[in-house]
């Protein structure tokens, strides 16, 4: 909201020495955040009110040009060249004399042009920075004093405050509301603009005024019409009003529109003017009917929704209530008969309508945030009197007034409630004074009330009444029950503060006006926290470990397209196709949420390579999103006037998609870089699989690795990893080299490798593992035995190793002797025959109570080999 300071001063009796910056600071401290303070009209000098005494039309130029004689008050006219034609002899105009400075530091000099010396310049509104209009010069009122300094005459020197009004403070979307805060902040008298220039009986109704009716009280609880006849449609808007409108960011349109806008800015009451000659029959506020349409002022023909609130007459819809007028009843340059509407529409109703039609206006913006219900009678009266005075019209006395009953709100609040919120004592007198400054009627407790207070709690009492406001928002809250016997205020909030409903709303008013800087500071009491959970710690450790082994963490965007899943080669019915859809995505190309981390990582990988970082390992830890097998859920909206039941929470959570946590990595280029030491080593499937194994090892979850084949992996270079949760083995994920087709689809280098694991499953498996039990460290000598086993090439090394371990452990008396099995060589070649490979292992054996004998160690070895022979057909190399 842009607010000229001069306008505020009209209603808040601020000392003339108070600087604009200080005003901004005080308003911000009171909760009206002033974002900018702009000095306006301060950089203009040398402009005076001039009188046009003669006009000579020059011909022979490409455009019409006038050579005018303008009196600057000295009595001696100056010759001035002017390109505009919207003025005549006898008009008063702003005249910039040679040496004058216009906004932006633009200096005026006498210069020769169009064959004459132009001894100054006649100014347009835009040249004076008081409006957009540059089609013609600014013609001043006939009573403008000749030779007067224009800046002084127009009151140009001012400051404009731009205030970011929070959505709870609708009243501050007006000069009236801001001036009240300013007066309170400075402790100076305040004059309510809504109480100025009113007729003796503002509520007097008259059958002579165009009749109005409310059909749906939930849409509108007050509707007022007034009529002015015989207006001169060409009557100009006074200069000062135009300047204020411009400074507030509004365009001057016509007197009727300008007056309604001016009063909306000043009072906060949106007003609408109809062309009375276009109306037929009584005006009715109602909901739209099926099939109705309305062309609004922005020339959009809108299909109306039965929830839309309309102003109608017997011809049908006239306007969208509190949002935008329709073209049929629009005030035009020929309108002489005006019907002025001022109403109090439902905040929710206007909000819904504005959203539905994607149509936000100054009016709807205010109605959504709450408008004073007592304004329509007053604002319409002022509009009528201003239009009559400025447009030469006649007011039809009285008004047409329809209204619905609304409950009055009173709040009872323990006297010390603000103290208990703020943590300091304000005292009853201060609290009462502050609430009155806000506009509340406050009934202070007397001592006798202390006992009476024993019986009841405090809270909001809302009389039952029609309309939505009686429900929900007026939920009764008890405060201070455990302070029975305490004194209580009975507070009636002012009509302009529909946001004040609960004791906490009142406490906030008191505390902000007393100043947040005066709230004491109390050192934190230590809470009895248990630190991070083991899952939270493990998640951190896994991330850190990946970073330490050379991977760079990425936080990629979760938005993907169906094509991304296609590129992975996921078959029909694959769970990765059960994606959650965003109803309003930023990009229609990416309406889905990721079901796997890989597309996002591959995109970032390609970006990095494109930017010249060729050797890159990336990882990401984050959730993926998958629809449950039942499809998209619908989450109920629960009540908020009490805590939800367990069943309600279960239903709510059950509607959400699955969101398992994943960890994934991708890598390309060199895993070990080339350098002065020689060639590097390209990243390979081994690195990706090792990264996955490292994650599992850190988690200490029991795990198993085997060959895997699904998309998007290279069918011969993919490992499937499993963890055991509660005795069940579940798939933890895959790792290896990506399928060449996937590599080319995502435009990443050949042989790009990756891994992706279900971290939720791993964390669950890990949480079941107890604390690691320490190994016994034996000081007896180690016995090492090497065995080379020949197996079919298709046999997995992991299976051979598992057989050796199990065999060794099962050997008689060997429990605990096997310290380590380590593969140290893999050989494929003619020595072992086609289709076979040799795997060479070192077994390290050790007892913790003796030195092992050769017989003992060989027995263990033989048992291990025998198990490998049994399970995978291993043959001792050289023994065949």
């Amino acid at each position: 909201m842009r607010v000229p300071l001069s306008w505020l001063r009209e209603y808040a009796a601020l000392g003339s020495d108070v600087a604009a910056g200080e005003v901004a600071r005080r308003l911000t401290a009171a909760g009206l955040e002033v974002e900018t303070v702009e000095a306006v009209g301060q950089d203009i000098s040398g402009v005076v009110v001039g009188l046009v005494t003669a006009i000579e039309e020059l011909s022979g130029f490409r455009k019409p040009v006038r050579y005018c004689q303008v009196d600057d008050g000295s009595g001696t006219p100056r010759g001035v060249i002017c390109g505009a034609a919207n003025f005549s002899v006898g008009d008063r105009v702003p005249l910039a004399l040679p040496g004058a400075v216009l906004p932006g530091g633009f200096e005026i000099t006498a210069r020769k042009t169009y064959g004459h010396v132009s001894d100054g310049m006649i100014c347009s509104a835009r040249e004076l920075a008081i409006g957009d209009d540059h089609t013609g010069i600014l013609v001043l009122a006939p009573d403008a004093q000749l030779g007067a300094d224009f800046v002084e005459y127009a009151g140009l020197a001012d400051h404009v405050l731009d205030i970011a009004v929070t959505p709870d403070r609708g009243y501050a979307l007006s000069i009236r509301g801001v001036a009240r805060e300013l007066a309170t902040a400075y402790g100076v008298p305040y004059r309510d603009p809504a109480e100025q220039d009113l007729p003796a009986d503002v509520a007097a109704e008259s059958a002579d005024v165009w009749q109005a009716r409310i059909e749906d009280a939930s849409a509108c609880d007050r509707f007022v019409l007034r009529e002015v006849r015989g207006i001169d449609p060409a009557a100009p808007t006074p200069l000062r009003m135009r300047i204020r409108l411009a400074r507030a960011g509004m365009r001057s349109v016509s007197l009727a529109v300008d007056v309604t806008n001016y009063l909306m800015l000043e009072l906060g009451q949106p007003l609408h003017a109809f062309d009375g000659s276009a109306l037929a029959g009584p005006v009715v506020v109602r909901r739209a009917r099926a099939g109705e349409r309305l062309e609004t002022l922005d020339h959009v023909v809108r299909d109306l929704d039965p929830d839309d609130i309309l102003i109608t007459d017997s011809s049908g819809p006239l306007s969208l209530a509190g949002t935008m007028g329709g073209v049929t009843s629009e005030v035009s340059e020929t309108s002489t008969h005006l019907v002025i509407e001022a109403a109090h529409f439902s905040a929710r109703g206007t909000a819904r309508m504005s959203r539905r039609h994607r149509l936000s206006s100054e009016a709807s913006y205010r109605f959504e945030r709450g408008v004073d219900r007592e304004l329509p009678l007053r604002a319409s009266a002022r509009a009528a009197s201003m239009l009559a005075a400025l447009g030469g019209g006649t007011i039809v006395p009285g008004c047409s007034h329809a209204q619905a009953e609304v409950p009055t709100v009173t709040i009872t609040m323990a006297v010390d409630y603000p103290d208990r919120v703020a943590g300091r004592v304000y005292g009853q007198a201060t609290v009462a004074r502050r609430l009155r400054e806000v506009g509340c009627a406050v009934v202070e407790p007397d001592l006798g009330a202390a006992e009476a207070g024993e019986a009841g709690g405090s809270g909001t009492e809302a009389a039952p009444g029609p309309g939505e406001r009686a429900t929900g928002r007026f939920a009764r809250h008890e405060h201070g029950r455990h302070n029975r016997g305490k004194l209580r205020f009975t507070v009636t909030p002012p009509s302009w503060r529909p946001d004040l409903v609960n004791p906490s709303d009142l406490a906030e008013e008191v505390i902000r006006l007393e100043g947040y800087e005066n709230i004491p500071v109390r050192s934190p009491r230590a809470a009895a926290g248990q630190g991070l959970t083991s899952r939270q710690r493990l998640r951190r450790t896994i991330g850190r470990s990946l970073a330490e082994s050379g991977y760079v963490e990425v936080l990629s965007q979760p938005f993907v397209s169906a094509a991304d899943i296609d590129r992975l080669g996921a078959p029909e019915g694959d769970p990765r196709r059960r994606a959650v859809r965003v109803a309003n995505p930023l990009s229609e190309d990416e309406p889905l949420l990721r079901t796997t981390l890989l597309p996002g990582l591959l995109r970032v990988l390609a970006r990095n390579i494109g930017r010249g970082s060729a050797d890159v390992g990336l990882y990401e830890i984050g959730p993926v999103f998958r629809l449950r097998s039942s499809g998209p859920g619908v989450a109920p909206i629960l009540r908020v006037d009490r805590g939800p039941a367990v069943a309600e929470i279960t239903e709510l959570n059950g509607a959400l998609p699955d969101q398992p946590l994943r960890v994934a990595a991708v890598l390309a280029g060199e895993r070990e870089q080339s350098g002065w030491w020689g060639e590097g080593r390209a990243a390979g499937w081994q690195d990706a699989i090792q990264a996955a194994r490292d994650v599992l090892a850190i988690s200490r979850a029991p795990s198993r690795i085997t060959e895997g084949t699904p998309a998007p992996w290279h069918p011969g270079r993919c490992a499937a990893l499993f963890v055991t949760v509660d005795g069940d083995e579940v798939l933890a994920g895959h790792a290896g080299e990506l399928h060449p087709r996937v590599v080319s689809e995502f435009k990443v280098p050949a042989r790009t490798c990756a891994m992706e694991l279900d971290l939720s499953a791993i964390l669950a498996a890990a949480s079941l593992a107890g604390p690691e039990q320490a190994p016994r460290i034996s000081a007896y000598p180690v016995a090492t035995l090497d065995v080379a086993l020949v197996v079919a090439e298709s046999v997995a090394a992991a299976d051979v190793e598992a057989a050796l371990i199990d065999g060794a452990r099962a050997a008689d008396g060997a429990a605990g002797l096997l310290e380590q099995v380590r593969l140290f060589d893999v050989y494929v070649g003619e020595q072992v025959g086609a289709g076979r490979k040799s795997l060479a292992y070192t077994l390290r054996l050790r007892a913790d109570d003796r030195t092992l004998t050769t017989e003992e160690t060989e027995a263990v070895r033989d048992a291990a080999v025998a198990e490998a022979t049994r399970r995978v057909g291993a043959v001792l190399r050289g023994a065949a």
């Binding site: 905040a347 959504e368 809250h477 930023l586 959730p623 805590g643 709510l652 870089q673």
Partner: protein, 373 residues
Amino acid sequence: MSAPNKQYDPVEVAALSAEAVAAARDEALAAIAAARSLDDLKAVRVAHAGDRSALALANAEIGALPPQARAEAGKRVGAARRDVAQALSQRQEVLESERDRRVLEEERVDVTLPWDRAPRGAEHPVTMTSQRLTDVFVAMGYEVAEGPEVEAEWYNFDALNFPPDHPAREMQDTFFVAGPEASARSGIVLRTHTSPVQIRAMLTRPLPLYVVSPGKCFRSDALDATHSPVFHQIECLAVDEGLTMADLRGAINAFVEAMFGEGLRTRLRPDFFPFTEPSADVSMECHVCRGASTRPGGAPCRVCRSQGWIEIAGCGMVNPKVLVACGIDPDRYSGFAFGLGIERSLMIRHGVTDIRDTLEGDVRFSRAFGMEI
């Protein structure tokens, strides 16, 4: 060749003369001193201390001397041989240490050569900042609460006192999740803030309650230098008996000092959030200029744009309506909450000027922060 009981041999008796022994010793000492290498010394040892050396031969002759002469000759030859042996061992030591020094000198390398064979990894600065902020709260006794990123509207809005159709709700630029039918609302959103975790914590944890919740949030803002559809917040929530704004200020001060520096002042100004009342925005004294940029003659400050204060967080007392929606008795309990943007914190503390840098995953960006922030 010689034997103890060999007969006296007058021909060789001359070798035992004191002069001859001294000469042999001096010759040996000179040769030892002249040895330039361990190999030289080895040859000298053979020549002057070996079995065929003059002194060894002289020693062998002692047995052939008349008994009365043996003692003196033995003493003389023995002394000479000890001198030679000692000189040899000293020279050996010197030459060995010279050799060692030379070998080590030859093995010298350029220790400044790089050995960065493995590329460096890094955690994301947002992750590290989030963990650091989290740890400050954890140190104050808070526990970490988590919640889903795809969240029910009720948690994200209704329970937090965002009434349906209220402008505050519309200001959040929400991503909505599609329902079973295209037109129907699902009641599910991408959470617009971490505050729904407050609701989850209040519904599931025993009171009193001190939790901190870091996490990813979403708003349908187009991406530019200062707006991102995906960003991170962290917020804390305390619900206990007798909590006041004074406790809130205390917690904020403790947090700001831990994160940005000792003695930094904070300032609260009224603001509006539906789920807190009263609500405030939190500014802290600029940690770089500490307000100096606002004083006459002070150097301009890029970090606070010479305002002296930096807005860092929003906060307030938990709105009693929120407690009610969570089944908590607002007469017995009160609470406070405050939250801040992690990217914003990164911008303030580390001079990040374009939020897109935190999203694009360029390894140059993350690597620059290393492993600790």
